[in-house]
């Protein structure tokens, strides 16, 4: 098949009113965080319609999964939502373990949970920095990265990679935690507890920021459920959708934490939910870090994993929301079909709903609070 033909751009047919015009925001645009393309219909500065055009970074991970073995699938999920790669890995591993009815050691569960929560904090740090940048405060970006670097160092020391860690394998984790892991994590928790108030002072309290965020991009609870919003986007609308609460996995049933909920449903609520979530994640880490049980870091699986015939569904809470892994097996060494229910696709689908009627600046700010990761949307 000729490749050239596939590269042709999509044509756009819109019927405009005379005052309205059309802007092509992206695929290369600073606020779209990657290669998201938004087709905006604008009247002056007012947004009339937002139509996301996806697929610029589509790699067909679901199709690739159909030819890979179950161990190999795990590393592909690193590349979906690269900011919460550990949690994505965990989702696949949990699916496979559930299917095999494999009981992993307690130590593995605790390690997974700690690293998962660290991933969440790292992701929110980056989001906070980028959020500030999208509303024009460029300095936040570096402050967010300063703290994220510490987490990345922890990951690098234990998992060997900073971003695409591939630390989980079906049956456990790849290596045991590094001897420095506990101390470094404690140091980080101590450090970060002084930094979140700084975040609040620099950005959250700022009168300009408050004005930019309050009452912008309002999403009602009913719409949040109907659009399948999850993660902080749903919780900002008062929709209790934390998978960690409702369907706890790994060691999350052993810890106590509050589900961060706000009822306003505007951009500020989504922002505040994420800040609250960082505090909750810190508390989860603190509860677990001193009590990592002794034991094996993995249980042996067969070199060739074959899942029993059937269908398996596992949902986890990534930093962006609910990630579902739907796996259909026919009993061979490859899955018959894998579907990743990514939080990003559902969250981007409500952009049109909440951005219409706002200004261009509002659209950018609203999009930042949705916390989009384009590879997660496109897969």
């Amino acid at each position: 098949m000729p490749l050239r033909k596939k590269m042709e751009p999509k044509t756009v047919n819109n019927n405009f009113k005379s005052e309205e015009y059309f802007i092509n925001m992206g695929p290369q645009h600073p606020a779209t965080h990657g290669v998201l393309r938004l087709l905006l219909t604008i009247d002056g500065e007012i947004i009339k319609k937002v139509e996301p055009d996806l697929g610029y970074i589509h790699r067909s991970i679901e199709k690739m999964c159909e030819r890979d073995s179950y161990q190999q699938i795990v590393h592909l999920t690193d590349r979906m939502d690269y900011l919460s790669s550990h949690i994505n890995n965990e989702a696949v591993c949990l699916t496979v373990e559930n299917a095999l009815q494999l009981e992993v050691p307690e130590r593995v569960k605790v390690i997974r949970t700690i690293i998962g929560e660290l991933t969440r904090i790292a992701s929110h740090c980056l989001w906070w920095g980028v959020m500030g940048m999208d509303v024009g405060a460029l300095t936040t970006y570096f402050y967010g990265f300063r703290d994220r670097e510490m987490i990345n160092d922890i990951f690098e020391e234990t998992c060997g990679a900073r971003l695409t860690m591939n630390y989980n394998i079906p049956g456990g984790v790849m290596y045991d935690i590094h001897p420095n892991f506990i101390q470094r994590t404690k140091d980080f928790v101590k450090h970060f507890k002084t930094k979140i108030p700084e975040y609040d002072r620099l950005l959250t309290g700022n009168v300009i920021f408050q004005k930019r965020m309050k009452g912008v991009g309002i999403l009602s609870k009913e719409d949040a459920i109907s659009f399948g919003a999850s993660g902080p986007v749903g919780r900002g609308s008062g929709y209790s959708c934390d998978v960690r609460k409702h369907h706890p996995y790994s060691a999350l049933d052993k810890v106590t934490f509050n589900e961060s909920l706000k009822t306003a449903g505007d951009s500020l609520a989504r922002y505040e939910v994420r800040i609250m979530e960082m505090w909750e994640s810190l508390s989860i880490i603190e509860q677990l870090i001193d009590n990592i049980p002794e034991g094996d870091y993995k249980v042996a699986t067969n070199a060739v994993i074959k899942l029993p015939k059937g269908e398996y569904y596992q949902k986890v809470e990534t930093a962006r929301g609910e990630l579902g892994v739907y796996m259909v097996s026919t009993g061979t060494k490859n899955p018959y079909r894998v579907k990743f229910r990514s939080p990003g696709l559902s969250n981007i689908s409500l952009l049109n709903h909440i951005a219409v009627g706002g200004k261009i600046g509002d659209l950018v700010a609203t999009m930042a609070t949705l916390d989009i990761v384009v590879p997660d949307i496109d897969r």
């Binding site: 190999q72 590393h75 690193d78 690098e156 998992c159 591939n166 590094h178 002072r201 309290g205 009168v207």
Partner: protein, 158 residues
């Protein structure tokens, strides 16, 4: 009156924000988080688990531990590893034994997932902490891991 209290509160939050950045500015001499990369090559040490590239360690007799079992080749999701092997007759025992000719590793295809090293039964391949992988030609990224003239270490069985 709320008009004036709004102004007061607004200005106060602005000054709070400025105090945060101002503090960083005053500590800028020691607070920098950036590294000046090519200058700090000597001090830049990767963690010992860092996944830089796959290498095959050889001992002083130019012997490696790879038996050519091809488990890494099967485990690799991207086809980064190719093993060219042959069965050779061992002159002492007279038995035919699998022996690698070339263990080819395409660094350009590798996603550093570590499945090959997990799969290796004899620990013949390990991670190296090399982080400078840029080359002028893509073909330089295809590496032969076993050194020329190397042979299998004695007593290594898979």
């Amino acid at each position: 009156m709320s008009y004036f209290s709004n102004i007061y509160k607004g200005v106060k939050t602005l000054l709070t924000g400025m105090s945060v950045t101002g503090k960083v500015f005053l500590n800028s001499r020691k607070g920098s988080i950036t590294q000046q990369y090519p200058d700090n090559r000597e001090t830049l040490k990767m963690f010992d688990r860092f996944r830089g590239e796959v290498v095959m360690p050889h001992d002083e007799n130019n012997e490696h531990r790879c038996t050519g079992c091809q488990k890494c080749e099967i485990a690799c999701p991207n086809g980064s590893i190719e093993i060219i092997w042959d069965r050779k007759v061992n002159p002492e025992t007279g038995k035919k034994k699998k022996e690698i000719d070339q263990h080819i590793y395409h660094l350009g295809l590798c996603t550093m997932c570590g499945l090959c090293i997990e799969a290796c039964p004899t620990d013949a391949i390990v991670w190296a902490q090399n982080y400078e992988n840029s080359v002028f030609d893509r073909s330089h990224l295809t590496k032969v891991l076993n050194q020329p003239g190397s042979k299998l270490m004695d007593g290594v069985e898979d």
